[in-house]
């Protein structure tokens, strides 16, 4: 028996959201003042939601681990944010944006949620511009756009290569405005460690004050997780080094189901790993593929300088394999194609695991000034890291872990399976299927934060207006605090020989080798065994120095890593269960003769939703069947 109710409204696709909004319960302005909401995380989704809810009159308590909400990792998103404005008159529409996302996600996302995102996307651009976000403009003063992977229109709004920063600062500024008005209270430098449930409902959190080590309790009528993804299981990724899925995982252990954990996006264009000391990888925006051409030498092991290799001796393999979309194929496809060429011995750079991204043709055609205007800060960033100048020689790029499509399962109202616990932005699973299209994460985070959650949460809170303040002086809070303290004491008392940093590196290697860009049954089983072994070692040999009463970054890391082990195992289990290839999930056993992902719609057209059943016990699989009423499910083709 399935316990999942996705609450997708009836009616035609284009009317679902409107009808649903009209049916949602409201909370009057006077009653909103009586209601508290906890927001975990201040990226684009969290900051936008907190500011919007504060503006509506709720009391919002906002938590982040950084010293300021402006530092959340949305800040690093580069390329842009999509909307179906059709400002280019290139026949774009809400339906096309919806269709591109459904197809890009390899038909593994919910139609209704994706359509809603596309529908709301235009209002997001309006809102951001009204806030003073300085998007790129034409000389005439209008907003300009560019293209992204997997689409044939130009619908991506951008601010040079710092769109995430600008979009985040827009919502950060809105958050500051609410802080000044007193509707939002900030709690920075807090690590959320436990969700507190009372009578089955999410009623608060227990967190650690990172400055003085105090374990603190906070209560609310609803809790929202906007805590991002778990891509740092690979250790090296494009994520901030302190990002993790630990908050979402804490919710999973408290009864929130986790959906499609194995759907992780490997971004095709990152600066390749340079050495063993490296602590993170840097993204080179997908927008670069608007003008950059991807190639490797036609000859195996050709070690000549790229500028000495003539056009005839180059294999522009994306243009060769996918003439219709060329260099702008979706990320999963571009990543696998790069891996295929490198595995076959055509890769470049010292390790042979890199491909070229070449701007020489674009510079010839458009001039250096135009290219500089579009990508100047990305070129500078590349130059700073590698010491090479992309204006005069091609960039070297290679895929790296980037974004998690999987996340907490939510219904159409963005509520998890725990009443009163919501998940928005990257923390939920709902909109990107098995592969996210470029520039749609800023879009989804903003849609969730500004225009979706603020409406849907009212439907739940309308029944809470008579609840009154929730006390933190209850046995549930006592118990949660005790659990947190025990966890910390356990980690501190291991007193082994190996740092959390070293364990994290080892975990990353296992996950990348066995559950990265390509997966197979034997590898996954081996990976599962190795993660379990490493986890056992972690609890025997971890070493944390320093104390718990001042800032202790090793302890913070160990607490996150404890969750990462468990997420990794859940991820592998999910990858083992899904005996098909779709989007970013590529099982080598299931591919077409051309090496493309081979879906199995008959058996796997569902969201794999995992329920926690206790430590050391197998999680239970639930299935949310995906129904496609508005698109024809086909083999994805970008040829």
């Amino acid at each position: 028996m399935t316990v999942l109710n996705s609450k997708i409204p009836d009616g035609p696709l284009s009317e679902k959201w409107t009808n649903h909004k009209n049916s949602l319960k409201l909370v009057s302005p006077a009653n909103k003042k009586k209601l508290d909401i906890i927001m975990i995380g201040t990226g684009v989704a969290g900051a936008a939601a907190a500011a919007s809810l504060g503006e509506m009159g709720y009391n919002v308590k906002v938590f982040c681990y950084q010293d300021s909400p402006r530092r959340a990792h949305s800040v690093a998103a580069q390329g842009g944010i999509n909307a179906a404005k059709n400002y280019r008159n290139d026949n774009d529409s809400v339906y096309r944006l919806f269709y591109d996302m459904i197809k890009g996600g390899d038909f593994r996302a919910r139609e209704a949620n994706v359509y809603r995102d596309a529908e709301v996307s235009n209002a997001v651009i309006d809102q951001l511009v009204a806030q003073g976000v300085p998007f790129a403009r034409e000389y005439g003063g209008d907003l300009t756009t560019r293209s992204f992977g997997g689409v044939q229109v130009s619908r991506t709004f951008y601010a040079q290569g710092q769109t995430g920063q600008q979009v985040l600062l827009g919502s950060y500024n809105a958050l500051k405005r609410q802080e000044a008005k007193g509707t939002v209270k900030m709690y920075p430098r807090r690590q959320m460690l436990e969700i507190v449930k009372i009578d089955g409902k999410a009623r608060g959190i227990v967190c650690r004050n990172l400055i003085n080590g105090e374990i603190e309790r906070y209560s609310a009528h609803a809790v929202v997780l906007a805590s991002g993804g778990y891509g740092t299981i690979y250790f090296l990724s494009t994520l901030a080094v302190n990002s993790s899925g630990a908050a979402a995982y804490a919710a999973y252990k408290k009864g929130a189901f986790f959906a499609n954990p194995s759907f992780i996006q490997i971004h095709p264009s990152c600066i390749p790993q340079l050495n063993d000391y490296q602590s993170k990888l840097t993204l080179m925006s997908e927008s670069l593929r608007n003008d950059g051409r991807v190639w490797v030498p036609k000859g195996k092991g050709d070690k000549r300088h790229p500028n000495e290799i003539s056009a005839e001796e180059r294999d522009y393999y994306l243009e060769r394999r996918y003439p219709a979309f060329g260099n702008l194929v979706p990320r999963d496809i571009a990543s696998r194609a790069a891996k295929e060429r490198c595995d076959a011995g055509f890769g470049v750079g010292e390790t042979g695991y890199a491909v070229y991204l070449d701007f020489s043709d674009a510079i010839k055609a458009q001039g250096k000034k135009t290219i500089k205007n579009k990508y100047g800060n990305l070129f500078d960033l590349y130059n700073k890291i590698t010491g090479e100048d992309p204006y005069t020689q091609p960039m070297k790029i290679y895929p790296a872990g980037h974004y998690t499509m999987g996340g907490l399962w939510v219904d159409y109202n963005l509520m998890t399976t725990v009443p009163g616990l919501y998940a928005i932005g990257e923390a939920n699973f709902s909109d990107h299927g098995a592969n996210r299209l470029g520039a749609s994460s800023l879009m989804q985070g903003s849609c969730d934060g500004y225009f979706i959650l603020p409406y849907t949460i009212g439907d739940y809170l309308a029944d809470e207006i008579n609840t009154g303040k929730i006390s933190t002086d209850t046995t549930e809070f006592d118990l949660a605090e005790k659990e947190v303290k025990n966890k910390i004491d356990n980690l501190m008392s291991i007193k082994g020989n190996t740092s959390a940093h070293t364990f994290h590196k080892k975990l990353g290697k296992i996950m990348w080798d066995y559950c990265g860009m390509a997966r197979n049954e034997n590898g996954l089983l081996k990976g599962l065994e190795e993660v379990t072994k490493l986890e056992e070692e972690f609890y025997k040999d971890l070493k944390i120095t320093g104390d718990t009463k001042t800032i202790n970054q090793s302890l913070e890391r160990a607490l996150r890593l404890a969750a990462s082990f468990e997420i990794s195992r859940l991820l592998i289990r999910d990858a083992l269960n899904r005996k098909e290839s779709c989007g970013a999930h590529f099982r080598e056993e299931y591919q077409t003769p051309e090496g493309e992902a081979l879906r199995n719609d008959e058996d796997y057209s569902y969201v794999a939703v995992w329920e926690y059943t206790g430590d050391g016990k197998e999680p239970k699989l639930h299935k949310e069947q995906l129904v496609f009423e508005n698109v024809k499910v086909t083999q994805r083709s970008y040829k």
Partner: protein
């Protein structure tokens, strides 16, 4: 490379701190400065010592967490970079490197190299926003903005809020930080309505929080990882003076 590191260690905000000297070997030129600090911390953990606490997150120069003064310069040698982008190629075998937190009265040390920058948060809350209620925005293209104005607003908006400008300034002035936000909105029609109030309120808050005055020495611009120009300070001054006149005129009515 072998290096000698003199690093500021301070366990608690109220405790007295001091420089500790560490010797570190096998530093690769390919490391970033923070990766060198990671390997120092690995060594300290092996020696049962408390690792050096420092703020860091994105490690690609955009989150603004980094807050180290290296050999006397915020974010160390090099121009338009943050500490996380600083490469060890900038140093030589045998070098002694002095690492301190931002030395600013308004940014008290929390631990080691971590400082409390909540004063910046208070300045932003004083006016660093446009009053644009969610859901009331007109169509985005109904607001036309000349490209040069929009580009200049972007240049100001690129501020990452790290505080290097304050740490570089002999007066510990936060003028470049405040100017970046005031100027961004002053250049855009969306920010005009409350423009004068914004300039006034943010400057007043900055003064109240104990930041110093600007004497146009330009160290802030030189050390800014985003290369934010002093011209934004000029624009802030203009806005502020206009705000003063308006205020005086309103009071005389």
């Amino acid at each position: 490379m072998k290096l000698t590191l003199k690093i500021w260690r301070q366990r608690l905000p109220k405790e007295k701190g001091k420089f500790e000297t560490y010797y570190i070997e096998n530093v690769s030129r390919d490391m970033t400065f923070l990766e060198m600090m990671d390997s120092l911390n690995e060594k300290l953990i092996q020696e049962d010592k408390d690792p050096v606490a420092f703020d860091h997150d994105c490690r690609e120069g955009i989150c603004g967490c980094c807050s180290m003064v290296i050999n006397g310069r915020p974010h160390g040698p090099g121009t338009e970079i943050t500490t996380c982008q600083l490469n060890m190629k900038a140093f030589k075998d045998g070098d002694t490197i002095v690492v301190e937190p931002w030395r600013v009265k308004s940014f008290p040390v929390i631990k080691d190299l971590i400082v409390d920058r909540s004063a910046f948060e208070k300045i932003m809350a004083a006016g660093g926003f446009v009053n644009a209620d969610v859901g009331s925005a007109p169509d985005a293209n109904s607001i036309k903005i000349p490209k040069d104005k929009s580009d200049e607003a972007f240049d100001a908006a690129a501020c990452i809020g790290c505080g290097a400008c304050v740490a570089a300034c002999k007066n510990s002035s936060a003028m470049l930080f405040v100017a970046a936000k005031v100027s961004q909105f002053a250049l855009l029609p969306q920010g005009k309505t409350e423009g004068l109030k914004r300039a006034w309120d943010m400057v007043m808050k900055m003064d109240e929080l104990g930041f110093g005055s600007c004497t146009n020495t330009g160290d802030c611009e030189a050390e800014c990882p985003q290369g934010i120009s002093l011209t934004h300070i000029a624009r802030l001054n203009r806005e502020f003076i206009r705000a003063g006149f308006h205020k005086a005129a309103a009071e005389n009515k």
